[in-house]
């Protein structure tokens, strides 16, 4: 009986580990949601910047990611050394933060994105960001 209990505990621990390893917290989103937790979200492209209107904020909060690419040896290959756009989030509670938007991926369906100082690169759907970046004058080319 005691042995059975120990086995059950082990199995529980294993499934817990497996669950943690497949979906660690924060993996699926670069910015948490919903939009109501932010006082503002701004997009800036070079010197130009604009407030993201409420109807577009839904696509930015939460900002969902498609893939996690891990730590880049050279962020320049993703266009993250000189990001073409920045998303600035100002939460009601807590410090504000930025999301850097790099270049389009090879088939132009996704954009590389990263939190500053975080050594992880993510892919976000270009369709999500296309209308937001257009607010600051950045028109992304359509998928090839």
């Amino acid at each position: 009986m005691r042995r059975g209990g120990a086995l059950a505990l082990c199995l529980l621990a294993l499934t817990g580990c497996a669950r943690r390893s497949t979906s660690p917290p924060g993996l699926r989103q670069l910015a948490a949601g919903p939009p109501s937790i932010y006082t503002s979200i701004r997009v800036s492209v070079g010197p130009q910047s604009a407030d993201v209107p409420a109807e577009l904020q839904k696509s930015l909060a939460p900002l969902l990611i498609t893939r996690r690419l891990g730590a880049p040896r050279n962020p320049a290959i993703f266009g993250l050394d000189r990001p073409q756009a920045r998303l600035s989030y100002a939460p009601k509670d807590g410090p504000s933060f930025e999301v850097l938007v790099g270049s389009l991926n090879f088939d132009r369906h996704f954009l590389y994105a990263q939190r500053p100082q975080a050594n992880v690169v993510f892919l976000v759907p270009a369709d999500t960001l296309r209308p937001v970046l257009a607010l600051a004058g950045l028109e992304l080319p359509p998928p090839g």
Partner: protein, 458 residues
């Protein structure tokens, strides 16, 4: 005793070390799956041997997905066949520079480079990779010309009666298809770059000028595939007669070797030729076909090989619309349904490969079948039909190795059709031979036992 123990231990350790060293230096594996699903097709093996210098394969895939795992497994098999073939699986998202350099715009694109040439494969499967290797090794695309203008089934038609599968075979073997309409133009001719001319199931008769053009082409070292049809008004005889073949039309009927209730849906089991067209083909399914007659002694230099022959119980039904019964006017079997003619002759002049010219050898090859239904999408994958077509194409165009299908696809082949002959064999085996053997074994055991008992107790 103790020394012997130490010696045995030393020997055991030496054997273990030697075994491990050998195992480290040599890789070996056995594919015990049905139809060798995890091995590459023999055609791929032969093709890989033709790779003489470094061939690099780069597969652009999402490396975390199952497709990348399968790709690595497949590409490793190519490396095992030929160490000159190397491969890499690259994630285009993680390597955007490489993806840009190779102009990749889709996942699963495979880039193959060989001797400064590049060919892309649309996906990572054996047929597509091997096709790309074939293109690289061949060094260019060959053209086959397909005659049109007589109601021939289309190579784009993917309906059961269409020839889309034939079109796919041509594409997979790096042939460019050019349609050839000899009914238009002032003096139409066969383009010089046609590696072969395919006449695939013409429904309407060819005009005399077309026949003359095709005959002239064939005589000048041309390569002709004539797939005749009984279900048409076209007469292929003017095209095939000069090459020792006569199309007698009618309907080939083989009640003993036919699938289902249709005696015209003939299963060919006799492929008597040593021609490479019959290589690897053990059975064919030739429904609704007409018969062929072979004239082996037409002239010196011309050899005509019957490639596929029906059983002795078959015949060519001359009036299939009225009745299916052998009677006067019908041609008795065995009936030839496919032939290969090879005509080699020497002409006094014309050799262009040596300075100053000289005599040249002219070699004509003609492949004829009395049915066109076997090539349709409905029947191309029945029995050995696909392999037969690919062999014929390779023989006509003198390609060493063409691809029919992968080992994976071959494993999916359906079982043999249950012809009357096979039914009779199964009946004899299950009702006669097997019970007979059991009975004979029982009787034999009893007789032996009785003899032994008599010896012991005389």
């Amino acid at each position: 005793m103790r020394r012997r123990g130490i010696l045995a231990a030393v020997v055991l350790v030496s054997v273990l070390v030697a075994g491990n060293l050998l195992a480290y230096a040599h890789n070996a594996q056995a594919d015990l799956s049905a139809a060798h699903r995890f091995s590459l097709a023999p055609e791929t093996g032969a093709l890989a041997k033709r790779v003489r210098s470094s061939l690099r394969i780069i597969a652009f895939l999402n490396v975390s997905g199952p497709a990348a795992r399968d790709a690595r497994f497949l590409l490793a098999r190519y490396h095992e066949l030929n160490r000159r073939i190397s491969s890499t699986v690259l994630d285009p998202d993680a390597n955007p520079g490489e993806a840009r350099r190779y102009g990749i715009s889709k996942y699963s694109t495979v880039v193959l480079t060989y001797r400064g040439r590049r060919v892309d494969a649309p996906q990572v499967d054996e047929l597509d990779i091997s096709t790309a290797i074939l293109r690289l090794v061949r060094g260019g695309t060959r053209t086959v010309c397909v005659l049109t203008g007589h109601g021939e089934p289309s190579l784009d038609d993917d309906s059961p009666d269409g020839l889309a599968s034939v079109g796919q075979i041509l594409a997979h073997n790096a042939y460019q298809v050019r349609t050839l309409d000899l009914t238009v133009g002032v003096s139409p001719s066969v383009p010089r770059d046609c590696a072969a001319v395919l006449v695939l199931g013409a429904r309407d008769p060819l005009g005399p000028a077309e026949v003359a053009t095709l005959t002239a082409y064939a005589r000048d070292a041309g390569r002709l595939m004539v797939v005749a049809s009984s279900l048409s008004t076209a007469d292929p005889n003017p095209l095939v007669n000069p090459w020792g073949v006569r199309f007698v039309g009618g309907l080939v009927v083989d009640p003993q070797r036919s699938e289902g209730a249709d005696p015209g849906n003939v299963v060919i089991e006799d492929l008597p030729s040593a021609s490479p067209v019959d290589d690897g083909v053990s059975r064919l399914q030739f429904p609704a076909g007409g018969g062929l007659l072979v004239d082996r002694n037409l002239r010196d230099g011309l050899t005509v090989e019957p490639l596929a022959v029906t059983s002795g119980g078959s015949w060519v039904e001359s009036q299939p619309d009225k009745e299916i019964r052998f009677d006067a006017g019908d041609i008795p079997g065995p009936v030839v349904v496919a032939t290969a003619s090879d005509d080699s002759r020497v002409e006094a002049t014309g050799e262009q490969r040596i300075p100053g010219g000289g005599p040249r050898i002219v070699r004509t090859r003609v492949f004829v079948t009395g049915s066109d239904t076997w090539l349709t999408n409905r029947f191309l994958d029945k029995l050995g039909n696909r392999r037969f077509f690919v062999n014929a194409l390779g023989w006509l165009t003198q390609e060493e190795q063409l691809l029919a299908k992968t080992a994976q696809a071959q494993a999916d082949d359906r079982p043999l059709p249950l012809t009357a002959e096979r039914q009779a064999r199964i009946l004899v085996l299950t009702v006669g031979v097997v019970p007979g053997l059991i009975l004979a074994a029982g009787v034999g055991a009893r007789l032996v036992g009785r003899r032994v008992r008599r010896r012991r107790h005389p």
